[in-house]
C-alpha cells in the first residue's frame, strides 16, 4: 500500500514579519542615513518578505561608533558575571521564541522547518548558554595569559545558517567583552533583525550588538572600517582571501571560516545503513548549503556498488518541497544566483563525463529548487571533485587502499572537515590522524555542538569557533 503523508505545514502566522526593517544601531532600529532599500524574498515562493536596508558608509560609521561607545563605556569593564547574565538571558529568550525564529528562518532561507526547529534553533540557544558561562571564567580559558577583550568586532556571516552563524559570532565575542557590528547575508537578514528585538527584550546595553544589513559592499565597508579591531568572517574562500588582503598591514585580528570539499570515506567494513544515512546527511542536510558538507564520497571499490545501490534507494525517500512542511527533508535553494551556480557546475560534471543520477521527484513550480543529485565515475581531476558546489550534489569517487583514501581526501586546497566510516577502531584513529581537516566525523557526520571547536586547515580558513578555542578569537 502506498502511504502518502498529507501536507503538515507549520503555521507561518506565529511570526510577525514587518514590511520593512531599519538598521539596529545603538540599541534602536534606525532609518538608513545613506543606505538604499532592497527586498528579501522567500526562496520557496519568490514572494517578497520585507524591505531591508543596504547600509552605506555613514550607516556603517554609525554602527561602528555605537559599538565603540558601548565597548568603552558600557561593556568592556562590566564584570564578567554581569555579561554572563545578559548572555544567559539571550539564551532563554531564544528558547522562548524558538518556534517563531525557526519558522522565520525557514521562510527567509528555504531550509526545512524540521532542521531549523530541531537543529538550528536548539544550537543557537545552546551557543549562547555555553559562552554565557565563560564570561566570568576567561582566565581559565587562556593558560598563562591575562585575558583582555580586543575591542569592536566586525562580523560578516553567510546565508546558510543565518541565526546559527550569528550565535557562533556574537556569543563568544560578547562573553570575552567585545562589542560587535554584525552583517547578515543579503538574502537572509530577517532572523538577525528579530534577534535584535531579543537584545532589546534582554535590556542589553545599547551598542553592544549592532546589526547592519546589506550585501558585499556593506561587508567590505565594515571589515575595512578603521574603527574595527577584529574581523570575523564566515563565507566563501574567495571573499575570505579578499578580506585577508584587506586587513594586511593593519593591527586587526582576523578569523576566517571558509569553504570546503570534504571527503566522506566509506570503508568496506562500514556499518552500511548508518553510513548511507551519514552520506545523505552529509550532502543533503540544508540542501547541501554547508561549508563542511561531505561533498566527495570516497567509497572503497569492493563495496561501491552495494553502497551506491543503498544510497540511491535511500535518496528516493527524500522529500523535497515546502520548507514549512514538517515532513520536508530538502527545502529550497537559497537564491536564484546559487541555483544558477549549482546548475552550472552540475552541467560541467556531465560535460566532463561523470554519470548523473537523481531520484525521481516532483519540484514545485515557483521558487528555487534542485533535486538531490549524485555523480558517479568522478575522478580527482573533475571540477565537481575540486570546487565547492554548495548544493545537494554529491561526487562519488572510489579508492582501493587506506593510503589511497587518505591521499585523495587530502588532495584539495581545502581542509575543513572529513568523514570516515569503518567498524575498525584502530583504523578510525589512524585515518583521523592523517586527515588534514579541522573536524573529523567518524561513523557520524554534520554534528555540531557549542563545546566542540570547528574550523579549517589550509584554505578553509583559520581560527576556531566553538569550545574554549572559540574564545581565543576574541581575546587579545
Amino acid at each position: 500500500m502506498r502511504f502518502e503523508y498529507a501536507p503538515a505545514p507549520e503555521s507561518a502566522s506565529i511570526v510577525d514579519i514587518r514590511s520593512s526593517y531599519g538598521l539596529f544601531v545603538g540599541g534602536e532600529f534606525t532609518d538608513a542615513k545613506d543606505g538604499e532599500l532592497f527586498k528579501t524574498i522567500n526562496p520557496a515562493s519568490e514572494d517578497v518578505l520585507a524591505e531591508v536596508v543596504s547600509a552605506g558608509p555613514s550607516d556603517v560609521d554609525s554602527a561602528v561608533a555605537a559599538a565603540r561607545d558601548a565597548y568603552d563605556n558600557r561593556w568592556r569593564d562590566l564584570p564578567g558575571a554581569e555579561r554572563a547574565k545578559y548572555l544567559f538571558r539571550l539564551a532563554r529568550l531564544i528558547q522562548e521564541r524558538s518556534r517563531e525564529l525557526a519558522v522565520l528562518e525557514s521562510i527567509d532561507n528555504g531550509k526545512p522547518i524540521r532542521e531549523s526547529r530541531d537543529v538550528d534553533l536548539p544550537l543557537v540557544a545552546a551557543h549562547f548558554f555555553y559562552y554565557a558561562g565563560w564570561a566570568d571564567k576567561l582566565r581559565y580559558a587562556v593558560p598563562g595569559r591575562q585575558p583582555r577583550p580586543i575591542g569592536v568586532a566586525a562580523q560578516v556571516i553567510p546565508w546558510n545558517f543565518p541565526l546559527l552563524m550569528l550565535a557562533w559570532k556574537i556569543a563568544p565575542a560578547l562573553a570575552a567583552g567585545n562589542t560587535v557590528v554584525l552583517k547578515p547575508a543579503e538574502t537572509t537578514p530577517l532572523t538577525a533583525l528579530h534577534f535584535a528585538q531579543l537584545c532589546q527584550q534582554a535590556d542589553l546595553p545599547p551598542g553592544v550588538v549592532n546589526i547592519v544589513t546589506g550585501a558585499g559592499e556593506t561587508g567590505r565597508l565594515l571589515v575595512e572600517h578603521p574603527g574595527v579591531d577584529k574581523v570575523a568572517f564566515t563565507g566563501s574562500t574567495e571573499v575570505g582571501r579578499a578580506i585577508a588582503r584587506a586587513v594586511a598591514g593593519t593591527r586587526k585580528r582576523l578569523t576566517l571560516e571558509l569553504g570546503g570539499k570534504a571527503a566522506n570515506i566509506v570503508f568496506d567494513d562500514a556499518p552500511v545503513d548508518q553510513a548511507v544515512e551519514g552520506i545523505v546527511n552529509g550532502i543533503f542536510f540544508n540542501q547541501g548549503h554547508v561549508c563542511c558538507a561531505g561533498s566527495r564520497l570516497l567509497v572503497q571499490e569492493s563495496v561501491a556498488d552495494e553502497v551506491l545501490d543503498a544510497l540511491k534507494r535511500r535518496m528516493a525517500t527524500l522529500r523535497v518541497g515546502d520548507p514549512l512542511d514538517k515532513n520536508t527533508d530538502v527545502g529550497a535553494i537559497n537564491s536564484a544566483a546559487q541555483l544558477a551556480r549549482i546548475r552550472e557546475l552540475s552541467d560541467v560534471g556531465t560535460a566532463e563525463g561523470a554519470q548523473r543520477w537523481s531520484a525521481p521527484c516532483e519540484l514545485p513550480e515557483r521558487g528555487f529548487w534542485f533535486v538531490p543529485t549524485i555523480f558517479t565515475g568522478v575522478s580527482q581531476a573533475h571540477r565537481i571533485a575540486r570546487e565547492e558546489i554548495f548544493g545537494p550534489v554529491l561526487s562519488v569517487l572510489t579508492f582501493r587502499t587506506p593510503a589511497e583514501a587518505v591521499e585523495k581526501a587530502n588532495n584539495t586546497p581545502y581542509g575543513l572537515s572529513a568523514g570516515v566510516w569503518t567498524e575498525k577502531g584502530s583504523r578510525i584513529l589512524a585515518i583521523a590522524d592523517q586527515l588534514r581537516a579541522g573536524v573529523v566525523w567518524a561513523n557520524t557526520f554534520n554534528k555540531f555542538d557549542p563545546t566542540a571547536p570547528f574550523g579549517g586547515y589550509k584554505e578553509s580558513g583559520y581560527g576556531r569557533e566553538g569550545g574554549r578555542q572559540g574564545l581565543e578569537a576574541y581575546l587579545a
Partner: protein, 315 residues
C-alpha cells in the same frame, strides 16, 4: 542489497560457515540507528494520512492475550473484539489475527470461524523456550493440529548468545517443519539479545532457517519492541529480499500502546522496507491495548471531537 539473487542455501552447512556468514554482516552503529529511528519518529502524520494509517494499523494488529489467567471466556471476548473492533461502525476493519496460548487455540479457531482472522499461537515453551526440543515440537504440533495457522516460536537465546548459531538454526528448521502449512513467526526476544549487531544476525539466522516473519519480543521481557530494533529488522528483511528474492514479514510486539506509536512504526516501514511491507501479510503489531487507542483516534478523526475510554469496549 545487490540486485542479483544469491544462493544462500549453503550458508548453514556447518557451524563455521553459518558463524562466518552472520559475523560478516555489516555492523550496526547504535547511535546512528537510534538517531535514524528518532528522526523518522518526527514525521507528522495528519488528516487523511492519519486516517489511512489508523485503518491499516488496525488491520495489522495481532490482538493478543497471553496470561496465565486466560480462559475460554476471555479468549472468546477477544475474538469478538477482533472481528468487530468498533461495533458501532461497520466501516471499521477487523484485525489480522488473534494470538493466544496453545491451550486456547481451539477456542479461538471456533470463535473466529467464518472471518478472515488468523489464529496465531505462541509455541515452543513460550516465553523462555527453556524446554527440550521434543517438547517444543510437540507444543507446536498441538497448536497446529488444533487449527492455528500461525505459530509464534521463540529462539533459543542461550544458544544464540553462546555462539551456537547452528543449534538455533536447526531448531527453527525443525519447528518450521512441524508447522506444516502454518506460517512461522520467529521471536528473537531482542531485549535479551542486547545489541543491534545481534538483532541483525538473529534476523538473518531466522530468515535463513525459513521464518515467514521475524518478531521482536515475547512481551514478557523489557525492553520489548522499540523503533530502532524494528528499524534494524526492517533493514534485514529488505536486504534479505534483495539477496534471495524471498519476502519475510516483521512483527514488533510489546509496548506499542498508542496510535502515535503505531503511526511511527508505519512510517518506519514505509521509509525503510517500503510500501510492499505496508500490508498485514508483511507487517503486524503484537498488541492488546493498542487497538482501543486506535479506535479512539479513529473516532476523533471521524467526528472531530475527543472520545473517552467509556466509548470503546474493554474485554
Amino acid at each position: 542489497m545487490t540486485s542479483s539473487v544469491a544462493d544462500l542455501s549453503d550458508v548453514a552447512r556447518s557451524a563455521a560457515t553459518l558463524r562466518g556468514f552472520l559475523h560478516g554482516l555489516p555492523g550496526v552503529d547504535q547511535v546512528g540507528a537510534e538517531a535514524r529511528a528518532a528522526a523518522l519518529a518526527t514525521r507528522s502524520i495528519k488528516t487523511t494520512a492519519k486516517a489511512r494509517g489508523i485503518d491499516l494499523a488496525i488491520r495489522m494488529v495481532d490482538l493478543t492475550t497471553l496470561e496465565g489467567a486466560d480462559t475460554p471466556g476471555k479468549v472468546r471476548a477477544l475474538c469478538a473484539k477482533a472481528r468487530r473492533p468498533d461495533p458501532t461502525d461497520p466501516s471499521c476493519p477487523s484485525v489480522a489475527a488473534v494470538c493466544v496460548y496453545p491451550s486456547m487455540v481451539a477456542t479461538a479457531v471456533d470463535a473466529v470461524a467464518g472471518s478472515a482472522i488468523h489464529v496465531a499461537s505462541v509455541a515452543t515453551a513460550f516465553p523462555s523456550g527453556q524446554a527440550p526440543l521434543a517438547v517444543k515440537l510437540a507444543d507446536t504440533r498441538a497448536a497446529v493440529s488444533d487449527g492455528a495457522d500461525e505459530i509464534d516460536m521463540v529462539i533459543n537465546r542461550g544458544a544464540f548468545l553462546s555462539g551456537r548459531y547452528l543449534d538455533v538454526y536447526e531448531e527453527i528448521v525443525a519447528v518450521r517443519e512441524a508447522c506444516g502449512e502454518a506460517h512461522l513467526k520467529v521471536i528473537l526476544e531482542t531485549g535479551e539479545l542486547a545489541t543491534y549487531d545481534n538483532v541483525r544476525r538473529a534476523s538473518w539466522l531466522a530468515m535463513l532457517a525459513g521464518a515467514d516473519f521475524i518478531k521482536t519480543s515475547t512481551g514478557k521481557v523489557s525492553p520489548a519492541a522499540t523503533l530502532p530494533v524494528t528499524l534494524v529488522m526492517l533493514e534485514a528483511v529488505r536486504d534479505f529480499r534483495s539477496a534471495t528474492g524471498r519476502t519475510v514479514g516483521v512483527k514488533p510486539a510489546g509496548g506499542i500502546r498508542t496510535t502515535k506509536d503505531a503511526l511511527r512504526y508505519l512510517v518506519l516501514v514505509n521509509e525503510t522496507a517500503g510500501e510492499d511491507w505496508l500490508d498485514p501479510d508483511r507487517f503486524r503489531f503484537g498488541a492488546s491495548s493498542l487497538l482501543n487507542d486506535l479506535l479512539l483516534q479513529r473516532d476523533k478523526l471521524a467526528t472531530g471531537r475527543y472520545s473517552g475510554p467509556d466509548y470503546v469496549t474493554l474485554d
